[in-house]
């Protein structure tokens, strides 16, 4: 039975993408290796470093999260403590009108899971030997276009991102694997769901050891910000302002997550994990 399942997994090969594709795209390897690097902070001129890490190729799906909740009733809607998830936790409905997690149709299982809090997302990642990505890791991967690792300054790409962010949303989210695969082989970073990061709570603290940094001033315009001088800043502001509005127990219709993991010193993806 186990052998059969691994055989079936091996048959799931990624299909070529052409920008935003319709329907389901199956992705075989769950995580992408991201080499160490640095990038210019989207909100200013700081240079930020990231160490090598791995990140899920696409957000966690309804089906995966359902399996997690089934194994750990602390994260069921009945069992969860209100301090860890608000009253909208997992409240999304399937097309049948039932709670999505319990009675999802097969195609619904491939949608990104939403209405999960930061605590819930962390618990899921931990249960799989992973963690949430940090904001710097996430931004580092997300700056890649299809062809380039660093599309900083590519105004055509940034205009596409802005368009993805502002498309009219239907209540039914598309399946994962529907928004282009970037240079690192990572899908769905722009325009599917916003994603939790591990350190969302401290992104407003600057590198200058001061509380309420310039980023904070820029997020609340009337406090005298300028600086959004091109569309790249625009899309960054949308992401950062969205993160600034979060609290850890909050859930959101357009808020999901994916997991990450620090790289082994050898950089090897292969891990034997027994729990």
């Amino acid at each position: 039975m186990i052998v059969l399942r691994f055989l079936l997994i091996g048959l799931l090969i990624p299909l070529p993408s052409a920008g935003q594709a319709e329907g389901t795209r199956s992705v075989s390897t769950p995580m992408a290796e991201i080499p160490a690097g640095h990038f210019v902070a989207p909100y200013g001129s700081d240079t930020l470093e990231v160490a090598a890490f791995e990140i899920d190729r696409r957000p966690v799906t309804v089906g995966e999260y359902r399996g997690f909740v089934a194994r750990d009733p602390r994260w069921s809607t009945e069992g969860v403590k209100r301090i860890f998830a608000d009253e909208n936790y997992l409240s999304r409905r399937a097309s049948t009108g039932d709670p999505l997690l319990a009675r999802a149709q097969p195609d619904e299982l491939l949608r990104p899971v939403t209405e999960v809090s930061w605590f819930a997302a962390r618990a899921f990642c931990e249960a799989h030997g992973k963690r949430l990505p940090t904001v710097n890791e996430w931004e580092f991967v997300a700056q890649a276009s299809r062809e380039r690792a660093n599309a900083h300054g590519d105004s055509g790409f940034n205009r596409e991102i802005l368009r993805l962010y502002t498309l009219p949303r239907s209540p039914e989210l598309p399946s994962v694997g529907s928004i282009f695969e970037n240079y690192y082989g990572v899908w769905d970073l722009h325009g599917l769901v916003w994603e939790w990061v591990e350190d969302f709570n401290s992104i407003l603290l600057s590198g200058a050891s001061r509380v309420d940094s310039g980023l904070d001033r820029q997020l609340f315009c009337a406090a005298g910000s300028q600086g959004a001088t091109d569309v790249e800043d625009y899309v960054a502001f949308m992401r950062y302002s969205q993160r600034a509005s979060l609290t850890a127990s909050r859930t959101g219709r357009n808020l999901g997550f994916r997991c990450a993991r620090s790289s082994l010193p050898s950089g090897s993806l292969a891990r034997a994990e027994a729990k």
Partner: protein, 213 residues
């Protein structure tokens, strides 16, 4: 109907891709988690089970300044005044502690045994229990009222997230953090927050008085 629990995390992750094609059925495994036993009627807290909105629901091991294990749930029963600081902090943390001592001094003597003060270190590497004890001594913190806690990085991240305290380690090893004093009620639920340093404790004292009635 029970099914055996899945053993391998890798297997679990990869098999969901296959299971998502409709082969799975929801597994309702009872793993006997103490907090979810159905013996007691809904709404009756079991001994040692924090209430739904209590900060003490956080998991993880904490050590106090004597090096003793201090499960958060042991803080139940007293109103707790909490802040997140570190001992190598030059400016804001001493001011926060001073603000807390101001609150302590303003409490009537008969209330002192019903109120506790908690300092959670955001710098567990340097703020070992021994260092916390020295800090408590040099800051003249009454050991019967003040608890200083050392916990792992993940726990500090979660505590900060729960209390709305922003904490970030800077490249130079210092910590940037927002300055908040939180008042937890006897169950560990957030009753009030005093934001900033050198703040007038008037509102906080009113909240504490109301909780002690």
């Amino acid at each position: 109907m029970r099914r055996p629990a899945v053993r391998s995390a890798t297997f679990a992750v990869q098999s969901f891709l296959v299971l998502s094609l409709g082969m799975a059925a929801p597994i309702s495994a009872q793993n006997g988690h103490a907090a979810h036993s159905h013996d007691t009627p809904a709404g009756t807290p079991r001994v040692g089970t924090p209430s739904d909105l209590s900060v003490y629901n956080l998991e993880g091991e904490w050590l106090d300044q004597t090096g003793k294990a201090m499960p958060l749930v042991h803080l139940t029963g007293r109103v707790r005044i909490v802040s997140m600081v570190y001992t190598n902090c030059a400016f804001a943390c001493p001011m926060l502690v001073a603000d807390m001592k101001r609150i302590e001094a303003s409490l009537p003597k008969k209330s002192r045994s019903e109120v506790g003060f908690v300092l959670i270190s955001v710098d567990p590497e340097r703020d070992t229990p021994e260092r916390l004890l020295r800090f408590a001594d040099s800051s003249r913190l009454d050991a019967t009222a003040w608890t200083l806690l050392n916990g792992a990085d993940g726990q500090i991240l979660e505590m900060g997230a729960l209390l709305g305290v922003k904490v970030r380690k800077m490249p130079d090893g210092e910590f940037a953090h927002s300055n908040v004093i939180t008042i937890l009620d006897q169950a560990g639920e957030i009753a009030h927050q005093q934001v900033g340093v050198s703040q007038d404790p008037g509102e906080s004292l009113e909240v504490i008085r109301a909780l002690l009635r």
